[in-house]
């Protein structure tokens, strides 16, 4: 399978901040890759290293099979990047920014820019200084997509967007994905990762905790156990985490031997039992609480 992004032992330390340590990830062509971590975990440092904005102290970062240090221009010409908070030159109008970006890429993107702006309801004649945060984000989306890149790097791309625009955004991204683009998505919105991503990595304190398909991650994590018609669970119930009781329904995460779980549940009164896959947030918390032990 063709690899689009590969980092090997990538390490970047700052004087005060943590950065990333020995980070090795692989994003294959056609992946929609979720990159998940809390604030300061190292997501932005990783993205900036991939874009050549910062230089790692050690390790290797390759995009499209090329070293980012030596082939930066070649690599960047086929990347679309949406920053978490976009900044623009003062006094520009939306169409000025789109034109400038197209000129920097030496491409004519006028048709595509108009198409995307229409899809996102973005007025191309508005002054950027007068745009709301959400509209500035829409412009960032148009800038990232107008040249039809092979790799999209999205850093908290949907934050600040209303649900309708989020949908329009994902429609555009999925259309690009169907056309062959690979997507690298850094996000706090775990449901978004679960809904759209095929593979994901969790990063914690600058180190990779786990990297796998979203499906495998769901399997490897604890299961959500729900007991209906149940008031009470014995204290120190083995393997139960985060017990919640709502309206005679007891719910908890379980990881361990399921035969033992069923034996332990024989002493508990309940009317119904379900064991389901946890959602992405639970997976994330599971790996964060465990600190990667579950690998």
């Amino acid at each position: 399978m063709e690899t689009v992004i590969r980092t090997q032992g990538l390490t970047k330390r700052y004087r005060k901040a943590r950065g990333i340590t020995d980070l090795s990830i692989t994003v294959n062509k056609g992946d929609i890759y979720g990159f998940i971590g809390s604030n300061g975990a190292g997501k932005s440092t990783t993205i900036r290293s991939l874009l050549g904005l910062i230089r790692a102290q050690s390790g290797k970062a390759e995009v499209f099979g090329l070293d980012i240090r030596r082939h930066k221009r070649e690599i960047l010409s086929d990347i679309g990047y949406i920053p978490s908070e976009a900044s623009y030159y003062p006094g520009m109008r939306v169409h000025d920014a789109l034109k400038m970006a197209a000129r920097l890429r030496r491409r004519d993107c006028a048709l595509e820019a108009r198409k995307i702006s229409t899809a996102l309801s973005l007025d191309m004649n508005r002054k950027i200084d007068e745009l709301s945060f959400g509209n500035k984000k829409k412009l960032a989306i148009a800038l990232a997509l107008q040249h039809k890149p092979q790799l999209l790097i999205l850093d908290e791309a949907t934050s600040g967007l209303d649900p309708l625009v989020q949908k329009a955004f994902w429609d555009l991204v999925m259309e690009r994905h169907r056309q062959g683009a690979t997507v690298f998505l850094s996000s706090h919105i775990l449901s978004e990762v679960q809904q759209h991503c095929t593979r994901a990595a969790i990063i914690r304190e600058g180190r990779l905790v786990v990297e796998d398909s979203v499906e495998a991650l769901s399997r490897s994590a604890a299961k959500r156990v729900t007991l209906r018609g149940c008031d009470h669970l014995p204290e120190d119930f083995p393997g139960a985490l985060g017990i919640t009781v709502i309206n005679r329904n007891i719910s908890f995460l379980f990881q361990g031997d399921y035969h033992q779980l069923l034996r332990d549940l024989q002493s508990v009164a309940f009317s119904d039992l379900s064991i389901t896959e946890p959602d992405m947030e639970e997976i994330f918390l599971h790996f964060y609480e465990k600190g990667g032990e579950a690998q």
Binding site: R73, Y89, L104, R105
Partner: protein, 262 residues
Amino acid sequence: MTILRNEIRFHWKGTLIWSVSLSFFAILALVLYPQVAVYSGFFNSMVERMGIFSQMFNLQNMDVFEFMNYYGLENGNFIGLGGGMFAAITAINIVAREEGRHTAEFLYPHPVNRLSVLMQKFVAMVLQLVAVNAIFILAAHIGAGLIGMGFPQKKFADFHLSLFMMNLQVAVLCFGISCFKKRDSVVPGLGLVLAFYFLNLFININREIATFKYFTPYFYTDIGRITSNGGPLWESIGLGFAVSGAVFLLGMAYYSRKDLAI
């Protein structure tokens, strides 16, 4: 050329405002010349009695009211100090503001070479300096024409060439410093220009610190020195540019590898 176009587009108004302001004072000073010249004998004797102040502005042994000397002293200050400040303000942030205003995150994920960005910004900066100096020179000719006077061509050319070199030296130095900066602030540039200006005044008073003449570009823009030298002081200009050029090259080398703060 996209960066160059962008720089010019966003700074032409500021350049025009500086040019018009400085030119206004150039014309005003020239229009006042006939009235001031009437009292030249009185003013010249007063300048002789001014002692340290006369020395500070290098006025001794000079007919202050000879037309070119008058122009050099009056307008040398406008385009000298004003132009120096414009050069410093323009150059000190030209690179740093990409990080200071976070536009680096817009610009550098595009397939651009950092050195090419710097060179385009440098050319834009030089064009702005050329525009300010050219408009000022044009205004000087208009002012002289209004009072029916003309400039001695060689002396005028030598003087303005020296002033332009001074503006350029300040700009080159500040551009180099801008490559090391991460924040958007004009204070270091303005501080540097004022330090250069006052250093020249101190050198004029105290000849024992004359060695420092190579540290300030204002030394070689003095109309009296240009006149007595018979042309621009190329030794001072060369040394000044050697230092500024070194800072410029170091800044470029540093910027091409630095981690961008965004």
